[in-house]
Amino acid sequence: MPTNENGQQPLLEVRDLHVSVGDQEILHGVDLTVNAGEVHAIMGPNGSGKSTLANCLVGKPEYTVTKGQAFYLGESLLGLEPEERARRGVFLAFQYPVELPGVRTWQFLKAAVDALRQQRGEEEMSARDFDRLLRERAKIVQMDQELLRRSVNEGFSGGEKKRNEILQMAVLDPKLALLDETDSGLDIDALRIVADGINKLRRPDNAMVLVTHYQRLLNYITPDHVHVLLDGRIVRSGGPELALELEEKGYEWIREAVDAAT
């Protein structure tokens, strides 16, 4: 079992991960260690493989791992079905949340919460308790109660959909949350609400990986580690200052620096 320097088991340990879609390899050997209590940002230009990494870790069927490993709390993730990963506490906030016509948010999240509870050997939550939980968590992202009675994401604005992702995260309370471009398409007010929500959910016993193209989300959420993903490889890792440097100098700067070094 892998452990970190403090002797604790990391939440996520990715080793030399190669991932293909169809015959095309997108990730060419990614290494990443995420410990409890940490927030990581993975930055990179479009097409660098950021979303592939996030989606592969939650088991999206069309992504094939050709080499490498991913452990979650010491257990190999890659053989698990998407729902098995979710039930163990892995969550993805989607870049493009899906609309579920006719499925009410209340009903959907109740079923999800019960699936997670079942995994832990607990009984289904009573409708009343769930109602209370949902209402309380909705406040974290300032979600209108009216939206909870509607079909999931149907007719929602882009900002409402992203807020709904964070609401789902708040309700399901994952140990490891991957947030795929959660800041994209948000105006400044919505960005602040979403970022506030994420900050409220940070705890010493969970971790988050923010996948983002831009630095602007990081004005609100200070990451512990920043990684730059370029052409399917993590080419540089550092602290929050790396994000600022990237914002200032652009991805071409990193690309040139990497090319010069090799």
Partner: protein, 456 residues
């Protein structure tokens, strides 16, 4: 004609037997209507030739035409059947006016007791064809067989040729809306295989309101053939809500023909549910024959195994300012097949018509098949009309989204199928009927016969 009769000699013998009975000759004008219908059937037969026959292009009624079904006249509809059996097989509320037919015969002992012989508060008549009170008899004679024409269609001709029992509903002008009229047509195992000819005529008088449910159910697993005809007349400013439930067993053949006539500013709202029958055909035609008439037609069909379900829905706008909305949805599993056909016809005089028809299908299996062919024929120039049809499997992206929240494939699929059906079910009123349908469909999509593997 001789050839046709040779093929249908079984029906001829049954027809002659009926003609010889006293019951068939109670009303001379009805005997005449029947005689005419028989001669039409002798000409038309059943629509077994499908070449060039658009109405029957995708449905082969050969199994019905080649089948042999008894038509015993002697069955007593008041033979004892536990009322609970009916109430379990069909929607049922004590406060409704429940009208039960057993093996095609009106059973007064299982039906709600009225003030006197089918008369309800406010002078509403809802009862069998024998003993219709004088003040309703003219309306009965005026409309029976005038909307569902034996001329045009072999099945309607056959039903009319055997017309001797049935249900007549008349809400005269000024009468209050009666309680929901719950019509249950049940087949038993007393004589199988058997053909029944349910026949309903409903007349909603000017300005009246009426809610009606028709259920076709089996209290047996034996095969049989139901050939049903319903005529509904909406006079000026009347409103009718209608629900039709096809819940027969998986051996049954069912051909249901409904003809709806809408006068000025009347409004017809119908929901059709088709779940049971080996081979089912639901043929609904609405004629909007007065200015400002409107109809809303919703439908839901669920097929599994080797079932074949055909919905043939036609809306005819004959006068201006009419509105029609059609939304039918299908859920298909196994090797089943469904057909959605039908037209919206806008005649030259029907200016300012607003019509829309949509058919959506969810295929749960690679082997299920849908033929969906909605079409428009527009002869007026100032109209708003649209139509569309979709068919697809459960979306893989959607399933992945749900699974990423911890729901397994079967649960996610079931939630999606229920949501798909829910769009139709939630339109049903009143609430007890909606609740019944919700339970029926949530049970049906959880049943082991339904493959909810989806396409991961």
């Amino acid at each position: 004609m001789t050839q046709v009769l040779e093929k249908y000699s079984g029906y001829l013998a049954q027809y002659e037997e009926l003609e010889a009975s006293w019951e068939a000759n109670r009303l001379p004008w009805l005997a005449q209507l029947r005689g005419h219908a028989w001669s039409r059937f002798a000409d038309l037969g059943m629509p077994t030739a499908r070449r060039g026959n658009e109405k029957w292009k995708y449905t082969n009624v050969g199994p019905i035409a080649n089948g042999s079904f008894g038509h015993p006249l002697g069955l007593d509809p008041n033979d004892y059947i536990a009322p609970d059996l009916i109430a379990q097989a069909a929607p049922w509320q004590e406060e409704w006016i429940n009208l039960v037919f057993l093996d095609g015969r009106f059973s007064s002992s299982l039906s709600t007791v009225s003030l006197s012989n089918g008369v309800y508060a406010g002078g509403v008549y809802a009862g069998g064809l024998g003993g219709i009170p004088a003040e309703h008899a003219n309306v009965f004679r005026q409309h029976l067989g005038q909307h569902a024409l034996a001329e045009e269609d072999g099945f309607t001709a056959l039903n009319t040729a055997f017309l001797h029992d049935g249900l007549f509903v008349h809400v005269p002008e000024g009468a209050p809306a009666p309680a929901l009229l719950n019509l249950v047509f049940a087949t038993t195992d007393r004589h199988q295989p058997r053909v029944t000819y349910p026949r309903v005529l409903v007349v909603a008088g000017p300005g009246t309101q009426l809610t009606l449910s028709e259920s076709y159910v089996s209290l047996t697993q034996e095969p049989g053939f139901t050939n049903a005809v319903t005529e509904i007349v909406l006079e000026e400013n009347s409103q009718v809500r209608h629900c039709r439930l096809l819940l027969e067993n998986q051996q049954a053949f069912h051909v249901g023909t409904s003809r709806v006539y809408l006068a000025q500013n009347s409004s017809f709202n119908s929901t059709s549910f088709a779940k049971g029958a080996a081979l089912g055909r639901s043929d609904l035609h609405c004629l909007l024959d007065g200015p400002g008439a409107s109809c809303t037609l919703n439908g839901l069909y669920l097929t599994t195994g080797t079932q074949h379900m055909d919905n043939f829905i036609n809306i005819e706008h004959a006068k201006p300012h009419g509105t029609s909305r059609l939304l039918y949805k299908g859920i298909l599993d196994g090797h089943s097949r469904a057909v959605f056909g039908g037209t919206v016809l806008v005649r030259k005089d029907a200016q300012h018509t607003n019509a829309h028809q949509t058919d959506k299908n969810l295929l749960l299996s690679e082997d299920a098949e849908i033929d969906s062919k909605p079409s428009l024929f527009i002869y007026a120039d100032d109209v708003i009309c649209g139509h569309g049809a979709t068919a697809g499997h459960i979306d893989a992206e959607t399933l992945f989204y749900m699974r990423s929240r911890g729901l397994d494939l079967a649960t996610a699929s079931r939630i999606l199928v229920q949501a798909f059906a829910g769009e139709i079910i939630e339109k049903v009123e009143p609430e007890p009927l909606r609740d019944y349908l919700e339970k029926l469909y949530s049970g049906a999509v959880s049943a082991p016969g339904i493959s909810l593997g989806g396409t991961p």
